[in-house]
Structure formats: structure tokens, C-alpha cells
């Protein structure tokens, strides 16, 4: 049973990886892993220190209010868990993606996504994670996680996603 879940998750991640554009490997992991985020609430038994562990048991993303880059209490809670994980897996490096919903102009959203990614980075750094382990990128409104032109989809797309880029157990 346990093995089954692990392999199912791995398969989902592989599906995401297959769709990866060779030019943008870093960006895909977060977007393709939206399936993992759904399971973030329940602790699923995956091997600690792996990327799956980070996505499933820690939670790889935080959400923002419209046109805001401030971290809510819930977002800070998620980032506290991310910081704890990154402290445990001390070799891991991450890329924080800043994303926006479609209700903004393209260039402004690029700036807003950058602001969101930096808010996540600064918070993790304040919790003792070396800034050199954290890179940021803004995708503006170019990479929605949830499709649909409605409030729920927009709330899911205003996000900061921490993607493990190296140093995790494989």
C-alpha cells in the first residue's frame, strides 16, 4: 500500500517532468507538481528529505491576496515548515517562483511576481536559511497552476512556489 502511493506520486511527478520544456527545467517542477499540493494537508508516508517529502509533507507553495506580496499567517506557517525542512536537508537549494493571476497587465505582473518570490526568499532567510541557497524567478501571469477565469482559480495562481533544485534525496 505504502509503496503504491509512493510510486503513484512518482508517476505523477514523472508526467510533469515529461512535459518539461528543456529550456525551462527549473520552472516546470513547481507547475507540474500541483497534484502534490492537493495532498499537502494529509501526511503521506514518503521518504524524508526527498522532493516528494517537501511537496507533500511540507507544502511547496504559499498564496497571496490580489495585488499583494505580504505573507499571511498561513503562508508564514508553511514557510516555517519549509525553513525547518531546509535546515534538516542542509544541502538542498531552492528556486522560488513568483506567480500572479491573470487580472493584471503583463509587465506589472512580472514585477509583482518578483516581489512575491522575494518576500518568500526574505522570510526563509530570516529563519536562518542562507540566501545563497535560494534563487528567485518571476513568471508574472505566464504559468497559471489552475485554469479558469474565476475567483478560486485566481486565488490559487497568486502564489510563491518553492522548487527544490538540488541537494534533496532522490
Amino acid at each position: 500500500m505504502r509503496l503504491k502511493i509512493v510510486s503513484l506520486l512518482a508517476a505523477l511527478l514523472l508526467v510533469g517532468a515529461c512535459a518539461t520544456d528543456p529550456e525551462e527545467t527549473g520552472g516546470q517542477t513547481g507547475t507540474g507538481a500541483s497534484t502534490g499540493a492537493t495532498g499537502a494537508g494529509g501526511a503521506v508516508a514518503v521518504e524524508p528529505g526527498t522532493i516528494q517529502d517537501f511537496i507533500v509533507n511540507v507544502g511547496d507553495r504559499v498564496f497571496f491576496d490580489f495585488d499583494k506580496a505580504t505573507l499571511s499567517a498561513k503562508a508564514q506557517e508553511t514557510l516555517d515548515k519549509q525553513a525547518a525542512w531546509l535546515t534538516r536537508v542542509s544541502g538542498a537549494t531552492i528556486l522560488v517562483e513568483g506567480h500572479c493571476d491573470e487580472r493584471g497587465t503583463r509587465e506589472y505582473n512580472l514585477a509583482l511576481g518578483e516581489r512575491r518570490a522575494t518576500a518568500v526568499k526574505d522570510y526563509l532567510a530570516s529563519k536562518g536559511i542562507a540566501a545563497s541557497r535560494i534563487k528567485t524567478i518571476s513568471y508574472g501571469k505566464e504559468r497559471p497552476a489552475v485554469l479558469g477565469s474565476n475567483e478560486w482559480a485566481w486565488s490559487q495562481n497568486r502564489r510563491g512556489v518553492s522548487t527544490i533544485t538540488g541537494g534533496a534525496k532522490s
Partner: protein
């Protein structure tokens, strides 16, 4: 790609712009500043040619001229099947009564001959049917493959002679061609003539590309590319295909736009999460910071005299338009209406600034004077943005995006044009979804 100066190969031989104003009759003209007007009925005949090849070229040129003028909304080309006078006798002299009968107010005829060197000689004349006078007559020589450009140049000449304004038909559009699923759009730079002809892709879609803009000569494009997952402003030389990153910034650079003289590029640089406006001199490759504020400063655009820069900033709490001197001094807020204002673009005439506005859950394209007064909204939809000016400052192009449903359907973006009057909204035909248009100046 043919070299630009050879592509032009259009040599102006004769310019007989004779306005033989006969009698007291007012000359034929269209005032394009009026809000809504009846398009001028114009008869555009197939250009005369002796052989079948000339006749084919003559038909093609006439149809491109007619399509250009029709799209402007100011002219109504008359159905050719109604014409009474044949093309050969028209070469001798128009029978004006025959053209009055079909309600033509203006008449265009022309002739095509193949030169000994294989090039085409294209002549055209524009007539005022009621005054029975010739308003313009021009002659061009060109390589056969450039016939479309000659047609656009003729359409520009007719537009200018009748409206008194420069035309905008001999121009090109660079834009972002979109394909693939909404969660992971493939975006490629594409370029085409203003009427959609000669479409080609400039990038292969492996790297995400956004917001292309033309240089003054339309020979270079500056744009944002995510090449190597590193978003930076790039230059693209259309002639050579060469792409190069601009500068060596440590963070994202974006929202590029050329200075009017083409020697500098304005852009935003995000340093430690904060976006400010910079200018880069393209000759020295030195960059200079122009704005310094913890707010988001982006989407800069020069005034045509290069003295002022308009941009958008949320320093007042929400996105509004601000203008500053070219050196970054004397910053003034110019937008004070309800809603958020973004993507300001200074008109090539200098008299207006086009913008995107968000208000009440809707998006609008509008214009205001450089001091922020006289706001007028020209277009509205679920989501639209990114106005770009025709070189005569009379028409705006922008893109609209449809809502996306939860299965990923919809969400397609298309290019549109609208007149400064708010009339004549038209979709621009592209092979697939399209966004981020930029309109070139008249091709030199």
C-alpha cells in the same frame, strides 16, 4: 532576408501631385478627427497591364490597396462589378459621368509595365470624380516580389492626399504568437506586414518570450526572453537574426522600449525584488538608473521628443501613471481617475498617452493628454491590454484575451485595432492566438 535598402528598391520617379482646384468646388477630403463618419466611396480599378503577368500584378495591387483603405474605416471601396468604364479606356481619360453613376467620389487607376531589367514600373492616379481633377499621380519601379510594398505605399499616398494625415499601411507588426495549453503556453516572436501578409516566426518557442518592441527603423526588436530560465531583455536584429542579451544585470530585466532615436533602451530592472526604471545606451552599453523607489516602477515609454518618460508605478498605493524628465527628475503623477492604470505609451505625435485601465473587473484601452486630462476610453472587455500606436497616431492596436474555463478551453488572445475616435474596432487576422503587438514606424 533581403537587405532593407534593396527591399525598398522602390524608386520614386515622378511626383505629380497636382491639385488642379477647378472652380469654386471644395476639394475632396475626409476629416478623420470627426467621431463617426460615412466612409468615402472610392472606385479602385485593377491596374492596367498589356500581358497576363502584368494584369495579374495589376489585380493583386488593386486588391491590396482596396483592402488597406477599407480597413481604415474611412473609405468604402465600390464593388468592381458595378464599374462601367473599362480599364484600357480609363488609361486614356476617365469618363467621370460613368463614375458618378456608381456613386464613386474618388477614383484610382494605374498601369503596370515590365521593364527590360525585369522590374515592374507601377503608376497610379487618384481622381476627384465630382471636380473632375487629378489629385495625385505617382510612379514607382521595384522588384516584382516587392509588389505588396508598392501597393501599401500607394494606399498611404491616397490616404494622405485625402485625409491630410500620414498613412500607416507600409508598416509591420511584431507580436507574440501563442500555442499550446493555457497552463503552459508556447510563445514565439512573429512578424508580419500590417495586413497580416508575409508572416513569419522569429523564435522557435523553446524559450518563453514577451513584449517585443520595434526600434525606430523597424530593423531591431527589443523583447523579454526566458532563455536558460533567466528572464532578461534582449535585442534581435531582424536582418541578421542575431540575438543578444542587453547588459549583465544580476536580476530580471523586463518591459523594454526603445528611445525615439533608437540609441537607447528603457527597461525595468528588478533588484532584490524591487523594480526600477533604467536606461541603457546601446553604443556604450552603459546603464543608468532613472527611478529609485521601493514601489514597482515599470512600463516606461519616451515622449517623441525624448524629453519625458511616462511609466506606471504603485508608489501611491495602486497602479497609476507618472511622468518624469528623461534624467529621472521632476516626477509627476498624471492619472487620477478611478481604477488602475498601466502600460502607458506615448503617441508618436506627442499629443496623447494610450494606456490600459482596470476598473470594476473589466479592462479598457484609453487615451489621455500628457498632463492626464481628457481621458477617453476606446475599448472594453474581460481582459485586454498593451496598446501600440500606428505611426500616424490615429489608430491603436492591442490584444484581447477571452476568459479561460476550468478545462483549459478558451483563454485565446487576439490582436485588435481601434481608431482614436473609438470607432472601427477590428480583429487583426493571425494564424493562431496572438498577444503583445508592437506597430512599426513607416518602413524607411
Amino acid at each position: 532576408m533581403i537587405r532593407r535598402n534593396r527591399l525598398i528598391g522602390v524608386i520614386l520617379i515622378v511626383a505629380v501631385a497636382t491639385a488642379l482646384t477647378a472652380g469654386a468646388r471644395a476639394e475632396l477630403q475626409v476629416d478623420i478627427t470627426r467621431g463617426h463618419l460615412q466612409p468615402l466611396p472610392i472606385a479602385i480599378t485593377d491596374f492596367h497591364g498589356e500581358g497576363p503577368r502584368e494584369q495579374e500584378a495589376g489585380r493583386d495591387i488593386a486588391s491590396v490597396v482596396a483592402a488597406d483603405l477599407e480597413r481604415s474605416g474611412l473609405f468604402k471601396p465600390i464593388d468592381k462589378r458595378a464599374f462601367l468604364q473599362d480599364v484600357s479606356s480609363l488609361q486614356v481619360q476617365p469618363r467621370f459621368n460613368d463614375w458618378r453613376v456608381v456613386n464613386a467620389q474618388a477614383l484610382v487607376n494605374g498601369a503596370i509595365t515590365v521593364q527590360p531589367d525585369g522590374r515592374l514600373k507601377v503608376e497610379f492616379r487618384l481622381w476627384d470624380v465630382f471636380a473632375e481633377t487629378q489629385m495625385a499621380g505617382l510612379q514607382y519601379r521595384t522588384q516584382r516580389e516587392n509588389w505588396r510594398r508598392v501597393a501599401h505605399i500607394i494606399a498611404d499616398a491616397i490616404y494622405k492626399r485625402i485625409t491630410g494625415e500620414e498613412g500607416y499601411f507600409d508598416t509591420r507588426i511584431v507580436y507574440v504568437a501563442e500555442s499550446g495549453p493555457a497552463s503552459r503556453r508556447i510563445k514565439r516572436l512573429a512578424i508580419m506586414d500590417q495586413d497580416g501578409a508575409n508572416h513569419r516566426f522569429l523564435t522557435d518557442g523553446r524559450a518563453l518570450v514577451l513584449t517585443p518592441r520595434f526600434s525606430r527603423t523597424a530593423q531591431e526588436i527589443t523583447y523579454l526572453s526566458y532563455f536558460n530560465n533567466t528572464p532578461r531583455v534582449y535585442l534581435f536584429n531582424i536582418e541578421t537574426g542575431r540575438q543578444e542579451v542587453l547588459g549583465s544585470f544580476q536580476g530580471m530585466t523586463f518591459a523594454p522600449r526603445f528611445a525615439p532615436n533608437g540609441n537607447a533602451v528603457l527597461m525595468s530592472y528588478a533588484e532584490n525584488g524591487n523594480s526600477d526604471i533604467y536606461t541603457m545606451d546601446l553604443r556604450t552599453r552603459k546603464s543608468k538608473r532613472l527611478s529609485s523607489h521601493p514601489a514597482i516602477d515599470t512600463s516606461p515609454s519616451f515622449s517623441p521628443d525624448a524629453k519625458r518618460i511616462v511609466f506606471n508605478s504603485d508608489r501611491g498605493g495602486s497602479q497609476q501613471l507618472y511622468a518624469m524628465n528623461a534624467d529621472g527628475s521632476n516626477v509627476q503623477r498624471i492619472s487620477f481617475g478611478q481604477g488602475r492604470y498601466a502600460t502607458p505609451v506615448w503617441s508618436p505625435r506627442g499629443d496623447l498617452i494610450a494606456f490600459t485601465k482596470q476598473f470594476g473587473g473589466r479592462f479598457f484601452i484609453g487615451v489621455m493628454r500628457p498632463d492626464g486630462s481628457g481621458e477617453r476610453l476606446l475599448s472594453e472587455s474581460f481582459l485586454e491590454e498593451g496598446p501600440t500606436w500606428a505611426p500616424n497616431g490615429r489608430v491603436l492596436m492591442f490584444f484581447r484575451q477571452e476568459p479561460t474555463d476550468k478545462d483549459g478551453g478558451g483563454g485565446g488572445a487576439s490582436l485588435y485595432t481601434v481608431d482614436l475616435t473609438g470607432h472601427n474596432l477590428r480583429r487583426v487576422v493571425t494564424p493562431g492566438f496572438a498577444s503583445d503587438p508592437a506597430w512599426s514606424s513607416l518602413i524607411p
